[in-house]
Symmetry: none
Subunit: 212 residues, 2 copies
DNA sequence: ACTTCCGATCCTTGA
DNA sequence: TCAAGGATCGGAAGT
């Protein structure tokens, strides 16, 4: 049986035990993203339905997706439990929108199961399909180097009054996050969409004097 | 709104009416395969959960899939209703196996909804996403602070490997967010709790070259 | 994800 | 030319 890597944070879950009890060659590793690596370049992010919805509301899932896709060519999401049964505050449109976004735009398949036992079966089957489908098993190795662009944008979005759009413009204009933070007010003024109010707020945060 | 083609056999279904009632430009055509064409080369096969399971049992779904994939580069399956709730003769393994096969080997995404209304919403959203994309950017950061003081810490926490504790230490050590971002690796090493791996990651994000 | 709301930015006007 | 006003865009917060 092929090797199956479980993220160490996930390794205490019932699912990891289940996989092992079914004869999988489970090893635990600290993964930078994803929960299960089924084959070379193939990883699964597993979420309970409640988790999945929560991670849509706080946008966590979207950045995870970005990381997962850059680290593994074949990324999957497995959602455990009934997505539509959870009493949650999410609007139906938002939930369907997220599913469409993930499938259509990000091209990451979403698999669903109803409980942990099914998830275990599914992961093992997916692994078998991946390996047999390819006709051979490839040696497992870590993902390729991480794309730092989302990180840079994430950082810049921490500035007050700066969202995704302004962050992109700032990074493009200055070339790097470092340069954005080193920019003078006059230089910032040159970026369209960044006005006086925003500039003041930005400088206040950057120059704020911290003392013990 | 873009045109949405419905297979003529499907056109009398409630779903087609729903789509039209929501303002979609629905036209009926006799399609070789697939039920809905959302965009050029993008089609959806829609099945109720019961249907889906039946089509697994008689293997119909696999040939349909093959046809769908050759006719349309982007093929999707939408399953309506609870896959695991139906009292059917299918074994759990067979169902999961089929889902894995479709996702892993055939690479056809399976979307699920709980009723026809949701399917309609989903199809319209998928169409929009396919044609226009999201139309906006997803903010990578949720829940920004409003005051300036936590603002500096919040900003620094955006660095990889830096949480609240490390952010506090960095700010105390350097005096301001601006200074933290200007720090050289050697200077960063002087801060307890910030190791070489973190420093490398930090510099990579700060120095990442952004180009259009 | 979607929606709504609010404030900032930008652009036009008109004195 | 510039100030005031209004249209538009983007960010923030809530579901």
């Amino acid at each position: 049986m092929a090797r199956l890597i479980v993220d160490s944070r996930e390794s205490r879950s019932g699912l990891a035990l289940l996989l092992a009890s079914r004869g999988a060659d489970v090893v635990s590793e600290e993964l930078e993203c994803g929960d299960y690596v089924l084959a070379d370049g193939m990883a699964v992010e597993r979420k309970t339905a409640t988790d999945f919805i929560a991670s849509i509301l706080d946008r966590r899932v979207f950045s995870q997706l970005l990381n997962l896709k850059t680290a593994y060519p074949r990324a999957f999401i497995v959602v455990e439990g009934n997505l539509f049964g959870t009493r949650s505050m999410i609007s139906e449109d938002a939930l369907l929108g997220a599913m469409s976004y993930i499938s259509v735009i990000e091209s990451v398949p979403i698999l669903t199961t109803s409980d942990t036992g099914q998830t275990a079966s599914l992961l093992l089957t997916m692994q078998r399909h991946a390996i047999e489908g390819l006709g051979y098993e490839i040696a497992l190795r870590g993902g390729k180097p991480r794309d730092r662009r989302p990180g840079a944008q994430f950082l810049v979005e921490g500035l007050p009054g700066v969202g995704p759009t302004a962050a992109k413009k700032l990074l493009l204009h200055f070339g790097s996050a470092q340069a954005v933070f080193a920019a003078t007010p006059e230089q910032l003024r040159a970026v369209p969409g960044v006005g006086p109010k925003t500039i003041t707020a930005i400088r206040e945060v950057l120059d704020f004097e911290v003392r013990g």
